[in-house]
């Protein structure tokens, strides 16, 4: 569905010196720096896949997304989305994709969402019957019924985001580009959005490309992640494999009934004190032994086995690439 080969995007931006003298100098002699926002990225995504796009700010995620959507012309390399070149924004390409940006909206501010839905119906030339069916489906899935006739400006951020998603999917695109769709939303709404995206993918088989800073989004939705940093591809593969490679260890966290005695601590090999709990790291195979040890020598009140947080996984991935 999506094929990217040796993609590059180079930007020129003006150099500005601080201070008034610098500003005046920039007025008469502007200087430029070149920056490769995307530098030789390649990947292939199959129909129906849900892929997470990870990376720090300025890594090149949004630039790549914009090139995939057709908003930006790549400096070099090839892109095919649903068999077409995105740039040029042909009608067929635009009918096949949709772009949702968490921090921006296409809904008309002063009018109810239904009006924007109607507008999109006309813009995409949707048949009334098919449109009604899709719209009703989206309204049901997103629970939009009470929101439909209120002006968008009167809706909360979360409510707006749900309506935004509906407006973006009325034309049943094959590919969804989601740029930080849950940004600024409360936890409950984040979960709702994730569940919706999952449901939509199941129903329509749409391919999903998602960028997010919330690891919970990625964990919940994506089986595969593509990690970009400094414009370069750092990792492309199953999320589980990423975790296994960079943070296979489990954390065993023990909370005790009372502070443990020095003798007990000496016996609890591998456990260190952390925020009032005792924590030990162990590869998956060793969990059984460590848990057994803890239960034998410590006055355990509460015990849990955790995976390394995804944030930590990513951090390790990047740390590996950084020169020491």
């Amino acid at each position: 569905m999506i094929e990217v080969e040796a993609l590059r995007k180079v930007y020129r931006s003006p150099k500005k010196q601080p201070g008034l003298a610098g500003s005046l100098r920039a007025l008469f002699h502007p200087e430029w720096t070149e920056l490769a926002a995307v530098d030789g990225v390649s990947f292939t995504i199959q129909p129906g896949e849900k892929v997470g796009f990870l990376g720090p700010n300025g890594a090149g995620k949004t630039t790549t997304l914009k090139m995939l959507a057709g908003l930006l012309l790549p400096t070099s390399g090839t892109i095919r989305v649903a068999g077409r070149t995105p740039f040029g924004r042909s009608t067929e390409h635009l009918q096949a994709i949709t772009l949702v940006m968490g921090s921006k909206q296409q809904l008309r501010w002063d009018l109810p969402p239904t009006e924007t839905f109607e507008l999109n119906r006309a813009i995409f030339g949707l048949e009334p019957a098919a449109f009604a069916e899709t719209r009703d489906e989206l309204v049901a899935l997103l629970e939009l019924e009470p929101l439909l006739n209120r002006p968008v400006r009167n809706l909360s951020l979360g409510e707006r985001m749900k309506c935004e998603l509906a407006a973006a999917l009325l034309h049943r695109p094959q590919v969804l580009f989601l740029d930080e769709p849950t940004i600024g939303l409360d936890v409950r709404m984040q979960v709702a959005v994730r569940q919706f995206i999952e449901a939509w993918n199941q129903r329509t088989g749409a391919t999903i490309l998602l960028t997010s800073h919330y690891m919970a989004d990625i964990e919940a939705l994506c089986d595969r992640v593509i990690v970009i940093d400094g414009g370069k591809l750092r990792y492309d593969g199953a999320l589980s494999a990423l975790i296994a490679q960079y943070a296979p260890d489990r954390r065993v966290v023990v909370r005790t009934l009372r502070p443990p005695t020095p003798a007990e601590l000496a016996q609890a090999v591998g456990f260190v004190e952390e925020d009032g709990s005792l924590v030990a790291m162990t590869p998956p195979e060793g969990v059984k032994d460590v848990v057994g040890l803890a239960l034998r020598v410590l006055p355990v009140r509460d015990l849990s086995v955790e995976e390394t947080p995804l944030d930590e996984v990513i951090r390790r991935l990047f740390a590996e690439e950084r020169p020491r």
């Binding site: 959507a69 009608t91 921006k104 507008l119 813009i123």
Partner: protein, 262 residues
């Protein structure tokens, strides 16, 4: 094609609804229309207080030009200004991407998406002035003359659209050009007066380079029965030329926006 027309119709409908959502503006606009007549026509009365004619135009004939100007200005502020000014804001806050993601030509979209019918009272006021002035003329205009004048006003609108497009296209280069549109509307003020009021290089400039004279003086001349169909055809050709130039500027700007050309 059908889809595009349907899309444009839908955009206009939404624009009208948005405009009507602000009730207060509407009455302010009507009041403003009346005041506009006053402030526009007062100078003419003052100017012609002790003279019958200036540069070949009597007071009532100069009123024709003024009326055409107000009419055009009203149409411009309803149909052109708000639409293209919105583009500048969209480019700045990043929502212009949504325009590009719709399968309708972006220039068409932005030409109608914020149409503001609340400004139409202005145009009506202008029309009123034109009609009044026509009635004062020694020889009232014939149907053919009125048709020619209408054509010229239409091509004037096309030229204005092109000028605005040219101006807004620069928004893709200079990030903050909020009020280029104000500059344009202020410059167009020269169109209040008959072209012959201006002399030499300025008149040439206003006839051929930025044909504001064409937009207001020529329709008035048509109503006075002074223009031939050939000259009107020339006016239409100029409008067409400007539209093409506007389109070119727009597509160049879009290429720049997508850094297809840096």
């Amino acid at each position: 094609m059908n889809r595009t027309l349907g899309a444009l119709r839908a955009e206009l409908r939404l624009a009208a609804m948005t405009a009507l959502a602000y009730r207060a503006s509407f009455f302010g606009e009507a009041l403003l229309a009346l005041l506009t007549i006053a402030w526009t026509l007062l100078p003419i009365f003052v100017l012609y207080d002790q003279r019958a004619g200036i540069a070949g135009w009597t007071r009532d004939e100069a009123m024709l030009v003024n009326g055409c100007f107000i009419l055009l200005e009203g149409l411009m502020s309803a149909l052109i200004e708000p639409n293209l000014r919105a583009v500048v804001e969209q480019v700045r806050d990043g929502t212009f991407d949504f325009v590009l993601m719709k399968p309708v030509d972006p220039q068409l979209q932005v030409s109608v998406h914020r149409t503001s019918p609340t400004r139409l009272p202005h145009a009506l006021a202008g029309l009123g002035v034109v009609i009044w002035a026509c009635l004062q003329l020694p020889k009232p205009p014939e149907l053919g003359d009125i048709a020619l004048a209408g054509l010229l006003l239409g091509s004037g609108l096309l030229i204005l659209h092109a000028l605005f497009t040219l101006v807004v296209s620069t928004a893709f280069w200079f990030v903050r050009v909020d009020n280029l549109s104000y500059l344009l509307t202020n410059t167009l003020d020269v169109g209040r007066w008959p072209l012959t009021f201006y002399e030499g290089g300025l008149r040439f400039f206003l006839t051929f380079v930025v044909p504001i004279g064409l937009m207001t003086t020529w329709p008035a001349m048509a109503l006075r029965g002074l223009l031939s169909p050939g000259e009107v055809a020339m006016g239409l050709a100029v409008a067409l030329g400007f539209s093409l130039a506007g389109r070119l500027a727009w597509t160049t700007a879009l290429r720049r926006y997508s850094s297809a050309s840096s």
